[in-house]
């Protein structure tokens, strides 16, 4: 994956170089797919984001802010798309998720107790996207921006209008929530497999 510096250069080059635009399209598509969990939605929002980028990039006077501006556009487009949808599986409503009954219940058994070779089976890869969808939007966004887009906590804080410490806390919480949701989905899947076998 490219460093932040090369990501900025990639954005600049994408204004005129078709190959760079393809690479940028790839990165933005990844963000949208992880965030929205839907291929068609990701395609649409990536297209919208890059159209806006090409048409309005001249409005960004300070070129050093171009990366932050682009990621903000990408995030806003994804949020617009989400608002149009009905939430499917979400923990958004839980005010203090770490103290909720669900989390307490799940916390009573260590999610990492499940053997790694089971959790990391290739056929469970699609469950990662489903597990991410179960996270609150902000948690999911921070997680993807940090671990997939490789933005720093400071950059994510700037993008979301939060302080760096808040971002770190959200990432820590999102990591635990993801593990809970993913393990739950794997367990369900395994139970289904057992049911089919019997």
């Amino acid at each position: 994956m490219e460093s932040d510096n090369s990501f900025e250069k990639l954005i600049e080059r994408a204004l005129f170089d078709p190959d760079s635009l393809r690479q940028l399209h790839r990165r933005i598509y990844h963000f949208h797919l992880w965030f929205l969990g839907d291929v068609l939605d990701a395609q649409d929002t990536t297209q919208d984001t890059l159209m806006t980028f090409l048409q309005k990039h001249t409005e960004v006077r300070d070129r050093s802010c171009l990366k932050a501006w682009l990621m903000r556009v990408a995030h806003n487009k994804a949020m617009d798309r989400l608002r149009r949808r009905r939430p499917e599986l979400s923990l958004d409503k839980i005010e203090s998720p770490d103290e909720s009954p669900l989390c307490e219940f799940l916390a009573s058994t260590d999610v990492y107790d499940m053997p790694e070779e089971v959790l990391e089976r290739q056929e469970f890869n699609p469950l990662v996207l489903t597990a991410l969808k179960a996270l609150p939007d902000k948690h999911r966004s921070c997680l993807i921006l940090r671990f997939v887009q490789e933005l720093s906590s400071e950059e994510i804080a700037l993008l979301h209008g939060l302080c760096t410490e808040q971002v770190r806390r959200i990432i820590r919480s999102a990591k635990t929530r993801f593990a809970i949701a993913y393990t739950q989905l794997v367990s369900e899947q395994l139970e289904k497999e057992r049911g089919q076998d019997s």
Binding site: L15, F16, P18, H25, H30, N125, A179
Partner: protein
């Protein structure tokens, strides 16, 4: 899940370790802490698990190609932005130059350098559009849009030289010569300096060549005019000092000369005939004739000399 005591100060390092972003020194420092801290070790395992899951899934993602509309928009945006920028740069540069006070010929070399603001703007534009990509396009595509930008930039450099007295039609030649040089030598551009500077140096070399050429022609012209003036003065003094009978003889000779000249004129074709007509019958000076026809004054001198030789021989024969 086990209750954990988070060490906030290590949190960012643990995430960075999971992302393989730490250098050797930072990793050693973190490892030393992890040996004595079970909660941070657990934290690292959890982040590692998350990163492994994300990266494993990432490999399965098939990314579609950008739509043709998007690619077309990019081309359009790139084209229009470069045209607008070039237009703006040139307009601004010409406005700046109009405001400048004229200087004498000797200082023309210093004023040939365009304003630093223009160079800065064009360079910024070329940098933004990736110099290597621009040059590659120039090399591969003779019809590239960037050739137009190069032409505008070279035109600006050449035409902003108001002080050397270089004739306008010669400036057009300089622009063409510079473009040909750039085209011929583009593959030798080493990327050690700015592309705009390289363009400017070539334009300046061509411009200086043209100025030198013009100055050389001017010197020849001055020498020729001086000689002709001396000859005219000597002739006038001879006419004034001659008695009436001698004057009649001279008139006869002049008449014969005129007839010989007319005969010579009818034998000539094209440009030479035009020169003789302008000089002998319309009464234009050498310099004026040279400008009207668009040739050096020395050529006029050669033609006139040939005509005089003819007339002289004709008079001797009669």
């Amino acid at each position: 899940m086990n209750p954990q005591i988070y060490h906030d100060e290590w949190e960012e390092k643990i995430v960075a370790r999971a992302m393989q972003e730490l250098n050797e020194e930072e990793r050693t420092l973190l490892d030393q802490h992890l040996e004595s801290c079970a909660s941070c070790s657990q934290e690292l395992q959890e982040y590692n698990f998350l990163v492994r899951r994300l990266h494993a899934t990432e490999k399965d993602i098939i990314v579609p190609e950008p739509s043709p509309e998007l690619m077309a928009l990019q081309q359009e945006v790139a084209r229009s932005s470069i045209q607008q920028e070039a237009q703006r740069v040139v307009e601004q540069a010409f406005t700046q130059n109009r405001e400048e006070e004229p200087e004498d010929l000797l200082s023309s070399r210093s004023v040939m350098v365009p304003g630093s603001s223009m160079r800065g703007m064009l360079h910024a534009q070329v940098s933004r559009l990736n110099e290597r990509a621009v040059i590659a396009d120039l090399q591969e595509n003779r019809n590239s849009e960037y050739w137009q930008v190069c032409r505008l930039y070279i035109e600006h450099i050449v035409k902003s030289d108001h002080h050397s007295g270089l004739l306008e039609y010669l400036k057009e030649d300089v622009v063409q010569e510079t473009l040909i040089s750039v085209f011929t030598h583009l593959r030798t551009f080493s990327y050690k300096g700015q592309f705009t500077t390289w363009l400017m140096i070539i334009a300046r070399i061509r411009l200086n060549d043209a100025i030198r050429r013009q100055q050389r022609i001017k010197r020849h012209e001055t020498d020729l005019e001086f000689l002709l003036k001396e000859e005219e003065e000597a002739k006038d003094s001879r006419v004034l000092s001659n008695p009436p009978e001698e004057a009649a003889l001279i008139n006869e000779q002049l008449q014969a000369s005129l007839e010989a000249m007319q005969a010579f004129l009818w034998k000539q074709k094209g440009r030479d005939r035009m020169i003789l007509q302008q000089v002998f019958f319309d009464g234009h000076g050498y310099r004026q004739t040279a400008r009207l026809i668009g040739i050096p004054v020395s050529t006029i001198g050669h033609t006139i000399h040939a005509a005089r030789e003819y007339v002289k021989n004709a008079l001797e024969e009669t």
